[in-house]
Structures are given as structure tokens and as C-alpha cells.
Amino acid sequence: MSEKETRKSRIFRLSRRKTLKGLAAGLGAIALPKKNASAAVWESFFQKNFRELSRSEMMDVVSRLEKEYSTRYGKSVKVKTTPSLEGVLYGYGLDLSRCIGCRRCVYGCVSENNQSRDPQIHWIRVLRLSKERGVDLEHAEQYYNPANVPEEGHFYMPVQCQQCENAPCTKVCPVQATWKENDGIVVVDYNWCIGCRYCMAACPYGARHFNWKKPGLQAADVNPDTHYLGNRPRPVGVVEKCIFCMQRTREVEGKYPACVEVCPVGARKFGNLLDPESEIRFVIENKRVFILKEELNTQPKFYYFYSV
């Protein structure tokens, strides 16, 4: 950014902050009677977009949220804001010849990422496809429920956010509540999303999910290790999606998302695309890889492959 631009954006931010402060003061005065309880409500109402928070504002937001969650769930909940790691671009591999359709990844994801249990929100959907038809989504079955998997004549294809480089969902958001981070993860600011669901219409992979009601999350089920842009408990009326378990993967290099760890057949691979020695690079360079809906030019960083 040139110096001029920086200055311009600073002036712009300053004036916006003043407007917001004025508004907050005015409305805060109305709410005076219940001062302490409503202060947090107003603060969250006037909270800025995550990407525009200054360091101190971010700390305020985090402590407010931690307090809120800890009171609600009766245990200490941590909200991290760890940024992307330098020189990391995450990629994901899924071995279609290994996947047995057991859905352990689906539920592993749910408990790691604090999804609503009532109604159930699943970031991963496993499709059962027939071997004769191949990857034919029109005849895919998501609600298969046999006693044992895998079933004769079928193979399985889990679908989750493909973390597109050319993401159609971020482009359409009218308020920039969703964007692609430097490590390639597409995130949602749950405190900025207005719930218009345009991104859900735009996503070709059905990877975005909406909180149609207040998420049903029991205190016992809460994973207290959370990230602001990731798995922290979500409010009603906003969109959420897979974030490659950034609360894990951004902390220690080489740490896997929950779905990778839980997969009993090792069908899931994860790693840094910029590291030539990584597992995911090996998969891309040595296996038969395909991209779901490649013709849409979404450029996913999610690679399906066949190991055998």
C-alpha cells in the first residue's frame, strides 16, 4: 500500500470510528438502567469487522467473548486470534480408493468445531456413489444408513469446504464478512455476517451452513480451545463452514485437522502446499488427482485422489 493510500484509509477509519462512538454513546445512554448487562450487548452490536480491529480492540473483543462463553458454558473457553503462519498454504488430499464412508470424520469435526447438535450441522457431507456411475452428483446419496460400510458396488466421497483460491462465496458477500486468509483458509467473521445467505447460493460444494436457530450446544460438548475465525460458538442467524481446524493447525506446524486424525483408514492427507517435502505435495505429484467441479474454475486446494 502506498503512503497516500494508507493515509486515506486511516482518515476513513478514524471518521468511521467517531461515527460509531457517537452512535454507541447515544444508544448506550438509552440503555443506562441495566448498565453492566447491556454494555456487552452494545459493544458487540457496534463491533467492527475483524479485519479492521486494532490490536487493543481485538483484545477487548476476545476478552468479552471469552467471558461470555465461559459464563454460558461454565468452563474456561479460550478464543485465539492466531494469524496465518508465514510461508504456509494449506492443501488437503482425500483418497477415494481408501474412504469407506464411516462418517467418523463428520462427527469428529462436529465435536472439535463446536457445531450445533440440535439441529445438527455437519461441515462434512459424505456422498455414496455407485461404482458404475462414478462421480455423478445427481445420483449421489447422502443419507445412506446400512449396518456396515463399505457397501458392495459403492464408493464414498466426503465433501467439505474446498478452500477455493478463486472462491465464489467471498466474492458475493455484500459486507465482506467472509474472506480468504493468507494460508488459504476461507473464514467467516460470525460477528459481522448479516445472514443474507448469498454465499450459500454461490458455493458449488454445499460447504456453507446456516444457523437457522440458536445453536444447540451443551456445555459438556464444548471444545474450549477455539479460534475467533474458527470453531468458537456461533450466534444464531449467521453462516459457518470448514476452516481446516485452524485452532489446531495454526498453532503447531504439522498438526492435523480433526478429520485427518480421526480417519481410520488414512484416507485424509493434509499439509503445506509450499513445502516441497510435504505429504500433500507428494500426493499431488505422484497420484492420480482430480478436482471436484473443475470446470467452474474455483481452483480448490482440496484434491481428491486414487492411491490404488
Binding site: P119, C193, A201, A202, K213, L296
Partner: protein, 431 residues
């Protein structure tokens, strides 16, 4: 400024005066609005789970109604063009009604979008400078801009003209004409942008067809004017406002052309999908034939198609176009036909089957229907109140009195059955 204030005060005095019918009509609408507000508070309290929308079908009845109403609003240009580009007198006299329709329809559109939001409390995120409007990236941001612009534009034009007539002056056309001319591309743009909002999504093959925007415009020029013809007849029967048959028949003729285009474009799309028979056929098959046992929309879309074709024939033949009965039947058929086709018939197949081949059949819940009724009632209430002011002004029954301050109100009834007018019309028809 003092004069503006006097005018506004006069308008409020006028709004309170009216016949029993006027009052019962307003109370009826208010009752519907109250029901709508109650239903909406229920939705606010429980979340959008009270609607039938789910992850697979993430937009439903609200956005369908929104899309249809954008069309109705855009159709106001069908009056503005003959009136101000071709200076055709019979329509020039009533062009202001088109602008009032546009204003009311725009308010309805904004309400439909608002009730569809998961977080209406965060609407301010859309306001540039205070929030972040993702312009020009997001087509929804474009829509926010053009819809509000169109609302302000029509409101200012109509308001300024009525204000001038109230003070017995001719409006200064130096200001009005450019605005009126600008309202033509603005009307086209609101509907084009709304079409692009769907059109730009490669994930949804049913919408991702370049013919979508032209189809939107063609159908808008059917439904909006059809609704207006029906309204004109009510207005001229129940108020003192005169609308000539000539004007109505001209609009009906324009509808015939627009409907031809609409049916032609639809045919072009049906041909392309069925003949090429790719995976992209699925949503259209779901809409027209039903797919894998899912066929909720089939009867609706065929009703719409039948209505549109019948109406097209009625409007094509001059004898039926200029017969009060067949004309009104045609208008109703078109209004309902396009409401289905450009409402649910457009939005839902975009989501069924969904992007991973899942079928979720959507039909609106009671809450969605009540909220929608409430918004329609709000639109009609606004339109009635605008008419309450505009009609007497245009008739010379509401203007500033001799003292230059207080209003003169010559029509304290507004909505009354005008027996003599009906006879006159009858005479005109037999001529």
C-alpha cells in the same frame, strides 16, 4: 422550507379524511400488517428455523416475492417512456401513478430482503462508511445501491411534481425531465442487476444462463403493467381520477409485445436445456416434469405457463384486448402467471436438486406466508396513502387555499363508488 412543511402538514390533514370505505380499507391493511409483525417477531425470536428454508434451499418465499416486486417496480418505465419520450397525452396524465407504484414496490422489496436476513440487527454493515458495502464486487451490494437510488429517484420526481401542483405551479421541467429520463435506465438497471444477482452464480446452472436478464425484463413489462391496469380500473371507479380507455388499451398492447418476448425467451431456454440434455437439465426437469418423485412445483409452473399463453392471446387480439371483461381476465392471468414464474418458479429450482444432488422440497410455512402478507399490506397501504394525496392534487381538489398557507380540500371522501363515471365508461366502450 416553510412551504414544504405546510405541504406535508396539509398531506397529513388530508390523509385523515376519507369515506367509510377508505377507513375500512386502511383498517383491513393495518390488521394484516399487525399479523405480519407478530409473525415476524416470532421469526425473530426463534430464528429462521420458523421458515421452511434450510441449507439445501437457502432462499425461499421472501426472495421470490422480492424478485417479483423488483419487476413490478421496473415496469413504471412503461408509462414514463410513452409519456415523456413520446409526449403521449393520455398516458402523460397518469404517468405519476407509475412512479407511485414504483415507490411502493421498492419499499416492499427492501422489506422482503430485510425479513430474509438472519441478522437484521446488523443491517448497518451494509451502509458505506459506517459499515462495509462490498461494492463493486458483490451483486447484492449493487442491488442495495440501485434499489435505494430508484426509490429516492421516483419519490423525488413524484413528490416534487405533486408539491408544485399543490402550489398551483407548473413543475420546472429543467429539473424534472433529466430525472425522468434517468429513471428509464435506472428502472432497467434495477431488474438487470437483480437478474445478474442470480445469473452470476456458476454453482446454479438454472440461473447461470445469459438469457436470464432479458427474461426478467420481458416478464417485468408484463406483470407490472398488468397490475397497473387492474389498479387503474379500481382507481377510476372508486375515485374522481379520470383515466381514459385509450391509455389502458395502449398499455395492454405493450403487454402483448412484452409477453411475446417473454414466451419466446422462455421457449429458447427450454429448447436449449432439453435438446442439449446435459446434467444442467435437472432443475428444469424438476420444475416442469418432476424429478425422481419430487414434483411440488410442476402444477404451479404449468398453471403459470397456461395463464401466460392465454393472456398473450387475449392481449394480442384487439377485440379481446379492448373488452373490459377479457382485458381484466388477461391482467389477472398475467399477474398470477408471472408471480409464479418469476417468484418461486425462478428461485426454488436454483436449489433443487442442490449442488451435491440432494433433494429438499420447499414450500413456505405459515410464518413466511403471514409475514409476506404483512409486507404486501404495507405496500398497498403506502400506495393507498400516496394515492390519497396524489389523486386530489391531480384533480385540483387539494391545493393551497387563497391565503397561501392553509390547504384547500375539495375531496373529503376519496374512495366512493362513482356511478356516473361508470356510465360514461360504458358509453365509451360501446362507441
Amino acid at each position: 422550507m416553510k412551504k414544504v412543511w405546510a405541504f406535508i402538514k396539509g398531506c397529513f390533514v388530508l390523509l385523515r379524511q376519507g369515506s367509510k370505505l377508505y377507513y375500512s380499507w386502511l383498517s383491513f391493511l393495518l390488521a394484516l400488517i399487525v399479523i405480519g409483525v407478530l409473525a415476524y417477531s416470532n421469526q425473530m425470536y426463534k430464528g429462521l428455523i420458523t421458515t421452511a428454508m434450510r441449507d439445501q434451499v437457502s432462499w425461499g418465499f421472501y426472495i421470490s416475492n422480492f424478485t417479483f416486486m423488483v419487476g413490478v417496480a421496473a415496469a413504471a418505465v412503461l408509462l414514463v417512456i410513452p409519456a415523456y419520450v413520446y409526449q403521449w397525452k393520455p398516458i402523460k396524465e397518469i404517468a405519476i401513478l407509475g412512479e407511485l407504484v414504483a415507490v411502493s414496490a421498492m419499499v416492499m422489496c427492501l422489506l422482503f430482503v430485510t425479513v430474509d436476513l438472519g441478522r437484521p440487527d446488523r443491517f448497518w454493515h451494509l451502509i458505506p462508511k459506517i459499515g462495509i458495502l462490498n461494492f463493486p464486487q458483490s451483486l447484492l451490494a449493487w442491488d442495495v445501491v440501485v434499489l435505494n437510488l430508484y426509490l429516492v429517484l421516483n419519490f423525488s420526481i413524484a413528490g416534487y411534481m405533486l408539491y408544485s401542483y399543490y402550489y398551483k405551479r407548473q413543475p420546472n421541467m429543467k429539473y424534472v425531465t433529466p430525472l425522468l429520463l434517468f429513471s428509464i435506465p435506472a428502472a432497467i438497471s434495477i431488474h438487470t442487476v437483480t437478474a445478474f444477482l442470480y445469473n452470476g452464480l456458476a454453482a446454479r446452472p438454472f440461473w447461470n444462463a445469459s438469457i436470464l436478464a432479458p427474461r426478467f425484463l420481458a416478464s417485468a413489462f408484463c406483470s407490472g403493467p398488468a397490475g397497473m391496469i387492474l389498479m387503474f380500473q379500481v382507481i377510476r371507479k372508486w375515485t374522481k381520477f379520470k383515466i381514459t380507455d385509450q391509455a389502458i388499451f395502449k398499455i395492454a398492447e405493450l403487454i402483448a409485445y412484452a409477453m411475446f418476448l417473454n414466451l419466446f425467451l422462455l421457449g429458447a431456454e427450454v429448447f436449449k436445456e432439453y435438446y442439449s440434455d446435459t446434467a444442467h437439465l435437472a432443475p428444469m426437469k424438476y420444475l416442469y416434469q418432476g424429478l425422481e418423485g419430487h414434483s411440488d412445483l410442476v402444477s404451479y409452473i404449468w398453471t403459470a405457463t397456461l395463464f401466460n399463453i392465454t393472456a398473450f392471446l387475449l392481449f394480442l387480439i384487439p377485440q379481446t384486448r379492448e373488452n373490459q371483461v377479457t382485458l381484466n381476465i388477461g391482467c389477472i392471468l398475467i399477474f398470477v402467471g408471472v408471480y409464479i414464474e418469476k417468484g418461486m418458479g425462478l428461485v426454488i429450482p436454483g436449489f433443487v436438486p442442490d449442488v451435491l444432488g440432494d433433494f429438499y422440497e420447499y414450500s413456505p410455512t405459515g410464518v413466511e406466508i403471514l409475514v409476506t402478507l404483512g409486507i404486501w399490506a404495507t405496500g398497498l397501504l403506502i400506495f393507498t396513502m400516496l394515492l390519497r394525496i396524489a389523486v386530489p392534487i391531480m384533480n385540483g381538489d387539494f391545493h393551497v387555499s387563497e391565503d397561501g398557507i392553509h390547504p384547500h380540500i375539495g375531496d373529503d371522501l376519496f374512495l366512493v363508488r362513482r356511478v356516473e363515471d361508470v356510465e360514461e365508461e360504458g358509453d365509451l366502450l360501446t362507441q
